[in-house]
């Protein structure tokens, strides 16, 4: 049920500047014979306040793409327009600093902005409250569960007060129930703060559950194969029939992509972030 590409599919651009714009972006690792194309000629716009899910099998360069947008790596060719000062990135792992308390971890995002200590503490407490971790500021990261740590990581990203939130399979390592709850959390926060979100996942249902659009990438090298608008009303549920139906359709398209690789032996791509867990 691929909707024809209406203006909806292009996101809520409405003439305003996109929050993220990629034009003809390519990324190749290595040089000469050993070179490995990770991304090839990718074009992608994310409108302010839009939730875009990037979907693909392993080796499609999803993490590479996020690293490029985040400025942790430079593209080989093409152009990326984004305000790097207004961008936050959430990793697969919580990436919290083990020597700091939960609150101090969130405060780190405010420290770079030059806020005073008292102000930092108060703001950190607010952000922790937002992710339902109000009473846990004094704990150390290792004292929390995986889902809680990922929420601290979300609070830290929010504390950066960014317009664009990049998320690299942030819930991949969590159990289904925790993940469902975090989907609700993320959706609420996204709406309240009017964030542009670029969310990388290999879980099709998760993509349909969350995204305004699901962008399917091919593997080795990564190219945009298809752009699926998701018009189902929110809030959605991962286990609803509508989500399942659209996910099924996208999965079929994903399978075709994967099967194209069955014939030729593949080299293992080196992604900027390890995809494994």
């Amino acid at each position: 049920m691929t909707a024809p590409l209406t203006e909806q599919a292009g996101g809520r651009t409405d003439g305003q500047q996109p929050a993220v714009r990629l034009q003809a972006v390519s990324k190749t690792y290595g040089q000469g014979k050993a070179s490995l194309p990770a991304l090839d000629n990718v074009a992608l716009d994310v409108a302010p306040g839009e939730f875009v899910c990037l979907l693909g099998a392993s080796g499609c360069g999803k993490s590479t793409l996020l690293s490029l947008v985040a400025g942790l790596d430079a593209p080989t060719a093409g152009r990326i327009d984004v305000d790097r000062r207004r961008i936050a990135l959430m990793f697969q792992e919580p990436a919290l600093f083990p020597w700091l308390t939960v609150s101090a971890n969130v405060e780190m995002a405010l420290r770079a902005k030059g806020l005073g200590k008292r102000e930092r503490r108060a703001r950190a407490a607010e952000y922790l409250e937002t992710v339902h971790l109000g009473g846990f500021g004094h704990k150390r990261p290792h004292e929390l569960s995986g889902g809680m740590r990922q929420r601290v990581s979300l609070a830290r990203a929010l504390a950066q007060d960014a317009d664009v939130l990049l998320m690299d399979e942030p819930f991949g390592a969590l159990d289904a129930m925790t993940r469902d709850l975090l989907h609700d959390e993320l959706e609420r926060v996204w709406r309240e703060r009017d964030l542009a979100v670029l969310f990388v996942t290999h879980n099709v249902r998760e993509a349909v559950r969350l995204g305004d659009r699901v962008v399917l990438l091919s593997s080795r090298p990564g190219r945009v194969v298809e752009d699926f608008p998701v018009t189902l009303p929110r809030p959605r549920r991962t286990d609803s029939a509508e989500v399942a139906e659209q996910a099924g359709e996208i999965t079929r398209r994903l399978r075709e992509e994967v099967m194209r690789h069955g014939a030729a032996p593949n080299r293992v791509p080196r992604e900027a972030t390890a995809d494994g867990r």
């Binding site: 942790l72 792992e93 990436a95 919290l96 083990p98 020597w99 770079a112 569960s145 609700d184 959390e185």
Partner: protein
């Protein structure tokens, strides 16, 4: 209503996932740490007594535990012993503190500046393997039989370990934390201060511990060689005990040196444990 259920669900999951903190009582922990030590000491004393009883050496050359411990107890009651201990400990603390300062500066510079790393990185490790006693002839030439000569060698012995600990810590900062720091807006010096330095703390602490061991060894070698008049020290006591063939006194001093070394090492062990507990690196033991 929906939001309320949602929050309660989250709170419920959080509560379920947090294991209750269990830590044995102080008495249990102290006992668990003490009895193996007591047992080991008893075994060593027994072996020592057996060797003495075997009669390979006459009693005035190799004193038994009873004679030695009596002599030790006797010394512990004398002011002279504490003077010697104070002098030695003052040298150890001063030397070690200076070694930490030097090691920190050198380690920080070498870990930050790449050409410097290529130039002196392996030199630092080389210095570490150099026996400190080999420095003394030079030190005595340079500074004479003085405190400075001892300090010089203690610093040279300990600083490379401290520097290496810091360098290793910087090198092994998890890349994910560097990336996280970068995304939070930290660059170069601020990244170094807020992310890299704290991340290298465990390795730095290990370097300190090793540095202390080297400092203590260097100091004892120094006190045996550089004897300053009217300034009693543990090394000097060792030296004169040998000159006077005072076997119990010699062994008693050796025990003191060993115990001081162990106690300070224990302090580092405590610091390391506290750090591990804070960072969640400690092994959960049954």
């Amino acid at each position: 209503m929906a939001a309320d259920t949602h929050a309660r669900q989250i709170a419920g999951l959080d509560a379920l996932e947090l294991a209750p903190a269990r830590r044995a009582g102080l008495l249990t922990r102290v006992w668990a740490g003490t009895w193996p030590v007591v047992l080991a000491v008893v075994l060593v004393l027994a072996a020592w007594e057996l060797v003495v009883l075997a009669g390979w050496w006459p009693e005035y050359v190799f004193a038994g535990p009873v004679t030695t411990l009596t002599e030790l107890g006797h010394r512990l009651g004398e002011a002279e012993f504490y003077q010697a201990l104070t002098v030695t400990m003052r040298r150890a603390v001063a030397g070690f503190a200076l070694a930490i300062a030097v090691g920190l500066v050198v380690g920080a510079l070498v870990s930050r500046i790449r050409p410097l790393r290529r130039a002196v990185g392996s030199l630092i490790t080389g210095l570490q393997t150099m026996p400190s006693i080999a420095w003394f002839p030079l030190a005595i030439l340079l500074f004479g039989l003085s405190e400075s000569a001892i300090l010089f060698v203690v610093v040279l012995g300990a600083a490379p370990s401290v520097a290496n600990g810091l360098i290793a810590g910087v090198d092994y900062t998890p890349p994910i934390l560097l990336r996280a720091g970068h995304m939070l807006g930290f660059r170069r010096l601020t990244l170094y201060r807020h992310v890299i330095l704290p991340a290298s703390l465990p390795s730095f602490l290990a370097g300190l511990k090793q540095g202390w061991a080297f400092a203590w060894r260097s100091l004892m070698a120094g006190e045996l060689l550089v004897i300053i008049a009217n300034r009693p020290s543990l090394g000097e006591q060792l030296h004169f005990a040998r000159e006077l063939a005072d076997s119990p006194g010699l062994l008693a001093t050796m025990i003191v040196i060993l115990v001081v070394g162990i106690l300070v090492d224990r302090l580092f062990g405590l610091a390391d444990n506290a750090l591990r507990r804070r960072w969640g690196l400690h092994q959960v033991t049954a």
